[in-house]
C-alpha cells in the first residue's frame, strides 16, 4: 500500500495494485458523512476502432456503443442493479465521455456492501436481444434531449469545426441510426475488450477504511488472464482546423457562441500535460478572464454578459480551449479576442501571481466535496496525472512559460467560431 501525501492541502491518498492489474486509490476524509466510489474503465466514445488482444484484424463498432454499454451494465438477470443500491439507501449512476466510462455510487451508510455491489455488477454483463432492443427507446429520448439542447449542439458544432477526422467530433451517445445497429454480440465484444481490471481503476473517498477496501477488492475482483494489449486505432488528424465557422439555427433568444482553439501540442500525459493544462488556464484567465481588460471592454460594450466563460480541455491525444457565452454579435467578440491575442508580448507579473493564487485557492476548495474529488481524480488519472501533484506543478510555472504558450498556441489560424442563432 503506497501513501501519497500533499502537505499544503493536508490530504492523504493510498494506492494499491491488485494482482489483476486493477489500480485502487482511497482517500479517507474524516468527518465527512457522504461516501463515494467510482469504478472506471479507460474506454469512451473515441474508441471506435481497435484491435482486440490476440486478434490481428481491427474491429469497427457503431457510434455510441460505449455509452450504450454503460446503460446496459445496470441490467441484471434478476432485474436492475439500481434496486440493490436503492435498498441500501445508495444512489448509483454512471457516465460516458470521450475517453472514460465510469460507474459510481454515493451513500451515507452500508458503504462496504455498496462497494461489493459496484464491483460485482460492473464485472457481470447481462445482455439479451430483448433488453438491448428495449434500451434503444430510452437512449433515443436521451439523444433527442441533447438535440434540443443549444449548448450541447454549440459544443459539438465547434468540435466539428476543429477536427477533420478525430472521433471527438462525434456525439458521445451516437445517433438514433447508429445505435440501431447495436446488438448483444458486439456489446459483449466491447465489454470483454475494455472491461479488464488492468484497463480500469477504482477510487473511493469518504470516511472509509483503507484496509477494508483492499480486502473487498481482493474478495471481489476476478483475476482474468490477458495476453497483450488493446491497440486503439485513431485516424490521422491534420493539424489544421476543419472549418473556421459553423452555425445552426435553434429556438434560442439570442446567439450563443463558442470560440475554439485547436491544440496541436499533444501526444503526452503525466506532469508535462498537467503543466500545459495549468499554463493554458493561466493564459485564458489573463486573456479573457473576469479580471482581464478584454472582459471589461466586451462587457461594457454590451457584447458579453455573465454567461461568458473560458475553459481549457487537455487530453492526451487532443486538446482545445473554449471561450463562449451569449452575445448579440459573436463575430465582434471573436475579432476583439484575436486583436487582443496579437497585442500580447509580455506577461505582467502582478497578473500572473494573482491568477496563480486564484487557481491554487480553487484547487484547495475542490477538496471540500467528495464528488468533485472523485470526478477530478478519475479525469486526471486517465491522463496519467495524480491530482495531488497540482500544487508542486503550479509552483513550477513561470511568466515565461505563459508567454511561450501564448505565442505558440493562440492564433487565428487554429480558431473556429461556432454559433447557434435564433
Amino acid at each position: 500500500m503506497m501513501e501519497i501525501f500533499n502537505d499544503l492541502i493536508k490530504e492523504k491518498m493510498y494506492k494499491y495494485e491488485h494482482e489483476s492489474g486493477l489500480n485502487v486509490f482511497v482517500m479517507p476524509k474524516k468527518g465527512f458523512i457522504k461516501q463515494y466510489a467510482m469504478f472506471a474503465t479507460h474506454y469512451g466514445s473515441n474508441d471506435r476502432e481497435f484491435i482486440i488482444p490476440g486478434e490481428s484484424e481491427p474491429t469497427h463498432v457503431p457510434d455510441g456503443i460505449a455509452h450504450f454499454l454503460e446503460h446496459k451494465m445496470f441490467e441484471e438477470e434478476s432485474g436492475s442493479i439500481f434496486e440493490e443500491f436503492s435498498k441500501n439507501g445508495a444512489s448509483a449512476n454512471a457516465y460516458t465521455n470521450f475517453t472514460t466510462t465510469a460507474y459510481l455510487f454515493s451513500c451515507t451508510d452500508n458503504f462496504y456492501d455498496n462497494l461489493r455491489l459496484l464491483l460485482d455488477f460492473v464485472q457481470r454483463p447481462y445482455f439479451t436481444d430483448e433488453n438491448v432492443e428495449k434500451e434503444k427507446g430510452i437512449i433515443a429520448q436521451e439523444i433527442r434531449m441533447y438535440d434540443d439542447d443549444p449548448s450541447w449542439r454549440l459544443f459539438f458544432n465547434m468540435l466539428g469545426g476543429l477536427y477533420h477526422v478525430h472521433p471527438v467530433k462525434i456525439d458521445i451517445a451516437g445517433t438514433i441510426e447508429s445505435i440501431s445497429k447495436i446488438d448483444k454480440d458486439i456489446l459483449y465484444k466491447c465489454y470483454n475488450t475494455f472491461y479488464h481490471p488492468s484497463n480500469m481503476v477504482l477510487f473511493a473517498v469518504g470516511d472509509v477504511d483503507v484496509d477494508k477496501v483492499a480486502e473487498i477488492v481482493n474478495d471481489n475482483v476476478k483475476s482474468k488472464k490477458r495476453d497483450g494489449h488493446i491497440k486503439r486505432i485513431y485516424p490521422n488528424e491534420p493539424s489544421k482546423i476543419n472549418k473556421n465557422y459553423v452555425e445552426q439555427k435553434m429556438s434560442v433568444s439570442m446567439p450563443l457562441f463558442n470560440i475554439g482553439f485547436k491544440d496541436n501540442d499533444i501526444g503526452y500525459g503525466g506532469k508535462r500535460l498537467l503543466k500545459k493544462d495549468i499554463t493554458t488556464q493561466i493564459c485564458l484567465e489573463i486573456l479573457a478572464g473576469r479580471s482581464s481588460d478584454l472582459y471589461e471592454e466586451l462587457y461594457n460594450d454590451g457584447l458579453i454578459d455573465t454567461t461568458f466563460d473560458v475553459e481549457y480541455v487537455g487530453e492526451v491525444d487532443h486538446g482545445y480551449s473554449i471561450i463562449g457565452g451569449q452575445s448579440i454579435d459573436p463575430e465582434a467578440v471573436k475579432k476583439a479576442l484575436i486583436a487582443k491575442i496579437s497585442s500580447i508580448y509580455k506577461i505582467d507579473d502582478a497578473d500572473f501571481y494573482r491568477i496563480r493564487r486564484k487557481l491554487l485557492g480553487r484547487f484547495i476548495k475542490s477538496f471540500n466535496s467528495v464528488e468533485s474529488i472523485a470526478h477530478n481524480f478519475i479525469s486526471y488519472y486517465m491522463k496519467d496525472i495524480n491530482i495531488l501533484d497540482f500544487t508542486s506543478v503550479i509552483e513550477d510555472i513561470t511568466p515565461d512559460d505563459v508567454l511561450d504558450r501564448f505565442k505558440t498556441y493562440f492564433n487565428e489560424d487554429n480558431c473556429v467560431l461556432s454559433i447557434v442563432k435564433p
Binding site: K10, P150, G361
Partner: protein, 420 residues
Amino acid sequence: MSIIKENMANGIELYVNKLNKFKTVTINVYISNKLSHETAKFALLPSVLRRGSFNFKTYKEITKHLEDLYGAMFAYSVYKKGERQIAQFKMEIVDSTYLKEDILEESVKFISDILLNPLILNGGFEQTYVQQEKEKQKNLINSRINEKTKYAVERCIEEMCKDEDYSIYELGNVDDVDKVDEKNLYEYYKKAIKSLPIDIFVVGNVDVDNVKEFFNKHFKIERTNVEVIPDTPILRKIDKVKYVEDRLDVTQGKLTLGYRTNVNPWDEEYFSLLVLSGVLGGGPFSKLFMNVRERESLAYYAQTRLERFKGLMLVMSGIEIENYEKALEIIQKQVEEIKSGNISHYEFNSSVKALVSSLNSIKDSGTQLADFYLSQKLSHTDYSIDDFIKKIEEVTIDDIVDVSKKLQLDTVYFMTKNEE
C-alpha cells in the same frame, strides 16, 4: 453539530455553524422580499451592486481583489421560495488553516462594502452600470427558452398559478425592467436595505466571537420597521384540469403535470408528502422510473419535484411527441396506484432511505447547510437535520395514502414541436 444564533444590534439575524471539516468558510447573506410588481427591480439590485462599490469602483477591481484573496468566490443569485423572492449573496473563502494569512475579516469587509457601501453619483447608482445590467437582465429573462427541460416546468407553473403571485418569474418581466433607472433604483435600495428581512449564515472553521465582531464592525446599517413577509397561500380547490400546449422548434416533447398538494410547509403531513414524491418519481426505485422509462421505454427521464413553499408537486418527462396520450395515461395511473395504496415495501423503503441519505449529505456542504436552516426558518419549524430524518423515518405507507388524497391535478402542460 449545532448552530449559534446571534441577533446583531441592527436586528439582522446571524447564524454561525462552526465545523472544522471543510477547506473553506461559506458566508451567505439572504435578503427576502415579496413577489410583486417590484420583483424586476429587486432582482436588478444584486447585479448593480456587484458592478462597483465605494471602495472597489469597477468590476475589474472587485475581481482582482477576490483573486488576491486566493480566488475567493463571490456570487449572487435571485430565486423564489413560495411567493418569497430571495436575493442570495454568497462568498466562499479558503480556510486560513491552508493559507499563510487569515482572510476572514477582509472577506466580511468586502461583502459589507458591496452590499452597504455602493457607488453613488448624483443621488443615484452609476448610470452606465444600471443600463448595462438592465440589458443583461432582459436577456436573461428572454433566454429562459434556451433550456427546454427547465423551461417546460417553469411554463407549467406559470399557467397553473396564473392568478397568483407565484407565477411571477424570479427576475420579473421585461416591461418592469424598462421602468427602472439609476435614481428610482437607489431610492428603492435605501428602503430595501433598511426594512427587508436579512439573514446571514456562516459555516466553517471559524471563531464564533470573531464572526460576530467582524459583522458588527463592518456590516453597519440603521434598520427600521423590518417587514414581515407573509406566508404563501397553499390551499386551493381545483374544479377542472387545465390543458396547456406550447409549440416550439423542438424534436422532443416535454410533458409536465402540476399537482396541488394542499400541504403547508409546517404541516406534519409534509414528511409523508416527501416520501410520496419519492415513491412516485424520486429515483430509479420509483413508479415513474420503473413504468415510464424501464417498462415502456417512453422517456430518458421521468421524475417529480416538490415546491415546498407553494405546495406544488411537478411531474416532468421528455417523450416522443406522438406518445403524449400514452405517457399521460401511465403517469396518472401511477398517482392512482399510490392513492389506492398500491405501494410496495421496496418502493417505500427505498424512498425513505434515499431521503435520509440526501438529508445526511447536507452536512457535507456549507451552502446546503445554510439553505436548510433558512428553510427551517421560513417554515416556522426548528428541526435539526437529525430531527428531520427522524420525522421521515416515522412515516408509514398509510400516511402516504392519506396525504395522497389531498393531491389534485391542476395543469397538464405539453411542449411540442411546430407544425411543419
